[in-house]
């Protein structure tokens, strides 16, 4: 026949599409409803009083449900960061950008977010930042309501203040 039929098959493409209905769960739902109103809500571990934000409902060290509602300010500290320079399909923004661990004032764990309005070479550990929100009318139940955290005019946090949150 033709040459093509004598070529060994080296690979095949088999597309897979699966749809999932994802439930955030009670704790995340509370957090997400809060952020839809511009509030950053954390929860406390009843055993050691540590504040978790966003909360997934369990204190990871004690295996007990976190409790209550702690409203946190949208100001915080960059404990550590990296500068992402390679693109990826999954990213919400284009590189180069600063991906940072943000420790909100009053919280005891950090979460990942972007630092904007800051040149990569100016990024530093201990930098004080504040959330820059997208327009209110576009808010949904998502951490993406915060477009980025931007540097604010406060002196850098003391290393000791955040060294346990690296």
């Amino acid at each position: 026949m033709s040459d093509a039929s004598s070529e060994p098959v080296r690979s095949i493409r088999t597309p897979i599409q699966l749809d999932y209905l994802y439930s955030a769960g009670q704790a995340s739902t509370r957090f997400l409803r809060g952020i839809a109103q511009g509030k950053l809500l954390g929860q406390r571990c009843p055993v050691d009083g540590k504040v978790y934000v966003p909360s997934r409902g369990a204190c990871p060290t004690h295996g007990v449900p976190t409790e209550g509602v702690v409203e946190l300010s949208d100001k915080g500290t960059v404990t550590t960061f990296c500068i992402v320079r390679i693109p990826s399909d999954n990213l919400s923004i284009d590189p180069p950008f600063i991906a940072a661990h943000i420790l909100l004032d009053g919280a005891d764990i950090t979460f990942f977010h972007v630092v904007g309005q800051c040149a990569p070479e100016d990024a530093r550990m201990g930098m004080r930042v504040q959330a820059s929100w997208i327009p209110r009318e576009k808010w949904t139940t998502s951490l993406m309501n915060i477009e980025y955290f931007q540097p604010i005019d406060e002196p850098d946090a003391d290393y000791d203040a955040y060294k346990e949150h690296l």
Partner: protein, 385 residues
């Protein structure tokens, strides 16, 4: 109480970016057949099979032990599939060893693999979950901030990572199975390679590889009949901690420190730096070498980078680390941990060819995974414990 366990056969594939010459089946069999041949055994001599692999979503196969059952000679046998994130290769070896140590089986085949060319690992690692921000760009994006924290804490010179990468890449030239082999590698080439996630450069990063690793683990009776020198398992240990919690130290995780301490205790080792002849350690980004040197207790906290500077971790150093070229040179994710365990065993069997550490009699294999939260380690030796 426990039966002694030894490695009597080791096999691995030539790791490469795309092994288009084999399917997943062919890949695992290549490693398994080599391990069986090394042990001079046949498929029917194996009592049980333990398979390890990273997340199913990489290759898009759910529970691959099922479709691979007969390809791995598993029909009519017990078969398990371990999955503990990046440390999976190590955990797989430990589960296999347990089956022997418990006195349940005399010969266990353990295999770990990844066919990354048939997967989209970057996608699978960072699937966009609803309600979340997609900011973490792959594993590097997750670990780079931790490396920055290490640099700050330790005051390590900025080029420490480059030196590690140079050593591992030179070592890889002595390992015929390694994926990345750059004969002209140099400090400058690494330093000038593109910065991916500051401070990690392209040539300081692990590749994405197709590869598999297999070992035959045996009880004392089967080991006595084995053709080559056995690598006796002196100790195994695993520790896990949560991904994120208040006050968590992700740079020098306690789970790693606890795991190593418990491991040394079990193996009767009080001075690991002196009593171990070498170690194969999971270093996917160059900076993890100095970090793990501290976590493993080979160097005091904050001084792991000095071992790199002193050449202590080079092939001719006092604590050679990753003479195989390590994860930086070959990274079939599911297999990478088992490769560390296997390479350590090869060393104490005198099987490591050009990258053999002279006179190695006691070695550490180490794997970690997740957000630096899962640790699996073993110590193997030429002497029966």
């Amino acid at each position: 109480m426990a039966e002694r366990c030894a490695v009597i056969g080791i096999g691995q594939t030539k790791h490469d970016v795309k092994r288009t010459d084999v399917s997943m089946v062919g890949l695992v069999r290549e490693a398994a057949e080599r391990a069986l041949a090394d042990a001079e055994l046949d498929w029917k001599d194996i009592d049980a099979v333990v398979l390890g692999k990273a997340p199913d979503m990489f290759e898009g196969v759910m529970m691959p032990e099922l479709f691979l059952a007969d390809a791995l000679g598993g029909a009519g046998k017990p078969m398990l599939r371990v999955h503990t994130a990046g440390s999976v290769g190590g955990s797989t070896g430990i589960v296999a060893a347990s089956l022997v140590q418990a006195g349940i089986h005399q010969r266990v085949l353990t295999v770990a693999f990844e066919k990354q060319s048939e997967s989209n690992a970057m996608w699978a690692l960072t699937i966009r979950m609803p309600f979340s921000v997609a900011v973490v760009a792959g594993a590097g994006g997750y670990f780079a901030p931790l490396i920055r924290a290490y640099i700050r804490r330790s005051g390590a010179p900025e080029d420490t990572g480059i030196r590690v990468a140079l050593k591992d890449r030179r070592n890889a030239l002595k390992n015929p199975y390694a994926h990345l082999q750059f004969p002209d590698i140099s400090f400058e080439k690494i330093a000038e390679s593109p910065m991916l996630w500051d401070p990690i450069r392209y040539l300081e990063t692990c590749p994405s590889s197709d590869g598999a690793c297999a070992m035959v683990l045996a009880g004392e009776k089967a080991a006595a009949g084995a053709p080559g020198p056995p690598a006796w398992v002196h100790a195994t240990e695993m520790r896990s901690e949560p991904t994120a919690f208040a006050g968590r130290d992700q740079v020098n995780p306690r789970a790693g420190r606890d795991c190593a301490a418990a491991l040394y205790r079990k193996a009767g080792i009080s001075d690991p730096r002196r009593e171990l002849d070498m170690a194969e350690v999971y270093v996917p980004f160059s900076w993890f070498e100095p970090m793990w040197m501290e976590n493993l207790g080979f160097a005091p906290e904050g001084q792991g980078w000095k071992m790199v500077y002193e050449g202590a971790t080079a092939l001719d150093g006092d604590m050679p680390i990753n003479p195989s070229g390590g994860v930086l040179s070959s990274n079939p994710i599911g297999a990478s941990g088992l490769l560390r365990f296997a390479e350590a065993a090869m060393q104490v069997r005198g099987q490591a060819g050009e990258h053999q550490v002279e006179g190695a009699r006691k070695a550490l294999g180490h794997a970690y995974g997740g957000g630096s939260q899962y640790f699996s380690m073993w110590i193997v030796g030429s002497d029966r414990p």
